[in-house]
């Protein structure tokens, strides 16, 4: 009976040690800084923008080019990307009628993860997977927007897309595209962009109410008619 009592005492001591050690490890895990910080106040170098003017989709010979200024953490941008853009892409961009250009415009004050999301997509672009990453990040917005540290979630999306994670980690670790993102942001400011998503076509700004499939369809149809009449 005494041996049994000693055994129970030892057991409770072991349980206590494991509980304290486990809780301490978890606490340390939540406190350690593993999240990448993408600097905002970066000095833009010429090399940041050399040969790069945005992420493009569609033919260079398209009738019109639309520039979208977007923020990955903005719900309206997500809605546009998930609901409206697939129709525009399949019927106009893939048909060679519209060329789409995406520009980062992170609203850092209200969207703390937007710049990191933009950087994750830029690193995916290094491996030729920008548009897939762009879509995956937007699709997961409701998940990572609530997180305190979203870097792991972005990394998960890239892992699922089959990216070389060593290369991706290196790209994120040295914040390779911080200057490029800020250059894009500054470009938007110069154009008077103050909300997202905003669209620019032939120097004119549009919001999501203006930049619809129907509008673009009507525009490309009329441009095609003008072109046909001129032949």
């Amino acid at each position: 009976m005494a041996a049994e009592g000693t055994g129970m005492k030892t057991f409770y001591i072991v349980i206590g040690v494991v509980a304290v050690a486990g809780a301490a490890v978890l606490w340390w895990m939540t406190k350690r800084s593993t999240s990448v910080e993408i600097p905002i106040d970066v000095v833009i170098q010429a090399s940041d923008t050399a040969g790069f003017s945005g992420y493009y989709m569609g033919s260079r010979d398209a009738l019109v080019e639309v520039s979208e200024y977007g923020d990955y953490q903005c719900p309206a941008c997500q809605s546009f990307t998930v609901v409206q853009f697939p129709t525009i892409q399949s019927r106009l961009v893939d048909a060679g009628l519209v060329r789409w250009r995406f520009r980062d415009f992170p609203l850092d004050q209200i969207h703390p993860h937007a710049r990191m999301a933009a950087h994750a997509a830029a690193c995916a672009d290094d491996q030729g997977r920008f548009w897939e990453a762009h879509e995956a990040i937007f699709l997961g917005q409701t998940e990572w927007s609530r997180q305190r540290k979203a870097a792991g979630t972005f990394r998960g999306y890239m892992e699922r897309l089959g990216l070389d994670l060593a290369e991706y980690d290196a790209c994120m670790g040295d914040t390779r595209y911080a200057g490029r993102i800020e250059a894009s942001h500054q470009e938007g400011i110069r154009l008077g962009i103050n909300s997202t998503p905003s669209f620019v076509m032939n120097g004119r700004r549009y919001d999501t109410r203006g930049m619809t499939y129907d509008f673009l369809r009507a525009l490309t149809d009329s441009l095609q008619q003008v072109a046909a009449a001129g032949e």
Binding site: F11, T30, W144, G152, G156
Partner: protein, 151 residues
């Protein structure tokens, strides 16, 4: 009794493994310590939720339940109760079945292996083994206690 102690201890380790996965899922951890494994691919996949609930949260609740049942079963009034052993076998058996389902998904659907999930599958399997041994012990104890007194 030692098997029930082992089940309690293993379940407690399981509580911490599933807590780690859940803390990652709710964005408290950042990137996962996973080496070259596919932890984040698994955790960000659609299969990381089951019936709308995070799988890691289900694991946490399951391990916590196992831990509390095993701990309660070590108290003097319950220590020789076969019902506690049966409950532990049922709970850990369910856990093993779920772990097999998740591992099949990892290998054949997600095509990525999460080492922490594999670790959890091993832990719950060991809890099942300990629970089965505990059940055998409880059954044997009951037989001895219930046997007619030869004197």
């Amino acid at each position: 009794m030692k098997y029930r102690m082992a089940a309690a201890l293993l379940s407690l380790v399981g509580v911490f493994v599933s807590s780690y996965l859940y803390l990652y899922k709710i964005g408290k951890i950042g990137t996962m310590a996973c080496g070259t494994g596919g932890c984040e691919a698994v955790q960000t996949s659609e299969w990381a939720r089951f019936l709308g609930i995070e799988v890691s949260l289900l694991g946490l609740v399951g391990y916590l339940g196992l831990f509390l049942v095993a701990l309660a079963g070590l108290q003097p009034p319950l220590v020789a109760r076969r019902g506690v052993a049966l409950l532990l076998v049922a709970m850990s058996g369910l856990g093993v079945a779920f772990a097999i389902y998740l591992t099949v998904l990892e290998v054949f659907v997600i095509h990525a292996i999460c080492r922490w999930c594999v670790g959890s599958a091993v832990i719950v399997s060991l809890v099942l083994v300990a629970s089965l041994l505990d059940l055998r012990w409880a059954t044997a104890s009951k037989s001895v206690a219930g046997a007619p007194n030869p004197s």
